[in-house]
Symmetry: C2
Subunit: 98 residues, 2 copies
């Protein structure tokens, strides 16, 4: 591979990553909107926000469906961060509404 | 909303979240494969793995394209975790290959 070929191949990879990232971003926001919907239902029925059993289900769903190359541990750490951020959104929403 | 209606609405939201999560998972693995491709190109041409300027580009791409409801800070934190995990993959790959 010449230097010019490498430069072009890297540029192509980066464009593909940026496109994947924008699709991940859209799904993260879609997920947030569903979490907000759950928040509204729970608030109306005075149900608890935090349900550890449901979190286990979320982790199981992604680790069982993981074909790699990311390891199960890496997938779990990414989804822990995602769930954490959703909790921040729910807390802020409840503070605004109260 | 009756209790039964709330129960059904929550179950529906959770199914939608599980489906969104599986799509995020597929994209995370697609991103990892592209990062592995970048690793191979860089190794062949002896280029540095870590490029802070490129990381800034990645954050700019997602924060500039973020329509919410997730905040820019939340998006940045999720992508920091994703980039961290990709770095682990690259390090492990280089250790295997060396």
């Amino acid at each position: 591979m010449t230097e010019e070929q490498a430069r072009r191949a890297l540029a192509d990879c980066r464009e593909r990553i940026d496109s994947v990232d924008r699709r991940i971003l859209a799904l993260l926001n879609e997920r947030t909107r569903i979490v907000e919907e759950i928040g509204r239902i729970k608030q109306e029925r005075s149900l608890p926000i935090y349900e550890p059993k449901r979190e286990d289900e979320v982790f199981r769903n992604v680790t069982e469906n993981n074909g790699g190359p990311l390891s199960a541990e890496a997938v779990k750490r990414v989804f822990e961060r995602i769930i954490d951020e959703m909790r921040v959104v729910q807390r802020q929403k409840m503070e605004r509404d109260s």
